[in-house]
């Protein structure tokens, strides 16, 4: 049995044994003056280093577990929201009201094209939406998602950089693959009231009916023109008004439309011919 320690309250003498001594050998105090010294625990003092480290470790583990559980259980719902938003934007780009028209009713097929404009085999719709999640690396990998609507229109996702951060959108082309049927542009952090106006429906309405090819069939995309457009200008069919006070953002949109639509030229050339053949027949 381990020996207990007794301290004399009068002189501080420490006696080791099973009980307090009858008389303190130093100062002569009686046994009642002795108190038992309890062994000091490692964690008994809340300002000791050991306690602080233990406290931090336990706290971090509990918090991490809590956040992991929350993140895991809400993941499906969050992903469903993100998917739903993308689908709604695609439907909106086609000029339909996302409240009444469902994605499944409007879109026939979602594909990923390679650089030659041929669909990459074995890509499911889920793969296409996964590719939309990270457009930057999708485009870098030479993969170009496209959505084919039941009425012959196609929706092309575009992605670029505005003044402050990423901008993206969906361009819907008429079956002639030249005329813009509708567009939706969204942004992450453009200046509210200025650059952020690119995400308003008033701005999107400007694009409707614009053409991405000129009369000779050359790809010109659509440009946001600073100072406004003029119906008498020969390029009027390929220009929309830039955002006043958002020149850098407007330039970003112009570059985004040009660079992203350009990737689809092989596809457009191949299918434009097919579409016009069909109409000739």
């Amino acid at each position: 049995m381990a020996k207990k320690k007794f301290i004399c309250k009068v002189c501080g003498y420490v006696h080791e044994g099973d009980a307090a001594p009858e008389k303190c050998p130093v100062c002569g105090a009686p046994a009642s003056e002795f108190v038992e010294q309890k062994p000091k625990g490692l964690f008994s003092d809340i300002n000791s280093n050991a306690y602080i480290i233990l406290y931090s470790v336990v706290m971090v583990v509990i918090v991490a577990a809590l956040l992991a559980v929350a993140s895991f259980s809400l993941q499906d719902r969050q992903n469903a929201n993100i998917l739903n938003e993308k689908q709604q934007q695609i439907v909106k780009a086609l000029g339909e009201d996302p409240l009444t028209a469902k994605y499944g009713d409007v879109i026939a097929e979602a594909q990923i094209l390679d650089a030659k404009g041929n669909p990459i085999a074995g890509k499911s719709e889920a793969d296409v939406f996964a590719a939309l999640q990270d457009m930057k690396s999708t485009l870098a990998a030479g993969e170009f998602p496209i959505f084919k609507a039941k009425n012959g229109c196609v929706v092309i996702p575009v992605y670029g950089v505005g003044l402050w951060d990423a901008i993206w959108g969906y361009v819907a082309l008429e079956p002639d693959l030249d005329t813009i049927k509708g567009i939706v542009i969204d942004h992450k952090g453009e200046t509210p009231g200025l650059g952020a106006e690119i995400s308003t429906s008033a701005h999107h309405a400007l694009y409707v009916g614009k053409k991405i090819f000129d009369d000779s069939g050359k790809f010109v995309s659509v440009t946001l023109k600073k100072g406004g457009t003029n119906p008498n200008d020969p390029n009027y069919a390929h220009e929309v008004d830039a955002i006043t006070g958002g020149t850098k953002t407007s330039d970003g949109v112009t570059a985004m439309l040009h660079d992203c639509l350009e990737n689809y030229l092989p596809y457009i050339d191949a299918n434009k011919a097919a579409n016009s053949n069909m109409s000739n027949n």
């Binding site: 809340i46 602080i52 931090s56 809590l66 956040l67 993140s71 929201n81 739903n84």
Partner: protein
């Protein structure tokens, strides 16, 4: 005592207009009323529960790492709120964007934990948190009301200024673009403080 915890921060000890805390987010998320309401409620949830948790733990927290523990508790709560918003009100969480994450640095929350929760019982601290959150939300909603009404002609997204009044439709009225910018929120906060102090003479500095 308990009731005062709840009512004091609404007016006489309001975190925004008396303590001048949390100004940053009250400029940023008050363009529309709906995001302002969600932001106010989120801050209320975080202040209430961080006060509750910190107050329950207050006797066991080593004072040397007190601030770190506060940050961990507050950050964990904010992440939870952010996750819930993303899962249940996705459109609003998109509008609030980074400002939900920035609740962590909202001075109101750490201020209340440090000044109140660490020295008071959990239930009192919880009410104090609710009260301060409500005080913050109330000011946010007042600012957002004026900014949305005069900036977009709407309240909670509903058009209240008749369309026919607008110049575009042959009327005489147009929205005030300045209302959409953060400086206008600062001016409105200034006006609220002005009115509030002239009604409560005790608050006026000599």
């Amino acid at each position: 005592m308990n009731i005062k915890n709840l009512t004091n921060p609404l007016s006489l000890n309001n975190p925004v207009i008396v303590q001048i805390l949390g100004i940053c987010s009250s400029l940023a998320v008050t363009v529309k009323m709906k995001p302002a309401l969600v932001m106010g409620l989120s801050v209320m949830v975080v202040t209430a529960f961080s006060n509750l948790v910190m107050s329950s733990l207050r006797k066991g927290i080593p004072s040397r790492i007190r601030i770190i523990v506060q940050l961990v508790v507050i950050a964990a709560l904010v992440i939870l709120v952010d996750q819930f918003l993303k899962a249940y009100v996705y459109d609003v969480s998109k509008q609030l964007s980074v400002y939900v994450g920035l609740i962590i640095t909202n001075c109101i929350i750490m201020g209340r934990v440090e000044a109140y929760a660490l020295g008071n019982k959990p239930w009192d601290s919880f009410l104090d948190g609710i009260g301060n959150g409500l005080g913050y939300a109330a000011i946010l909603l007042i600012i957002a009301f004026f900014r949305e009404l005069f900036g977009s002609g709407q309240i909670f997204g509903m058009q209240v200024i008749p369309e026919s009044w607008y110049i575009a439709n042959g009327g005489f009225y147009s929205n005030i673009g300045l209302m959409l910018f953060p400086p206008m929120a600062l001016i409105i906060v200034g006006c609220i403080i002005w009115i509030h102090r002239s009604l409560n003479k005790d608050l006026q500095e000599k």
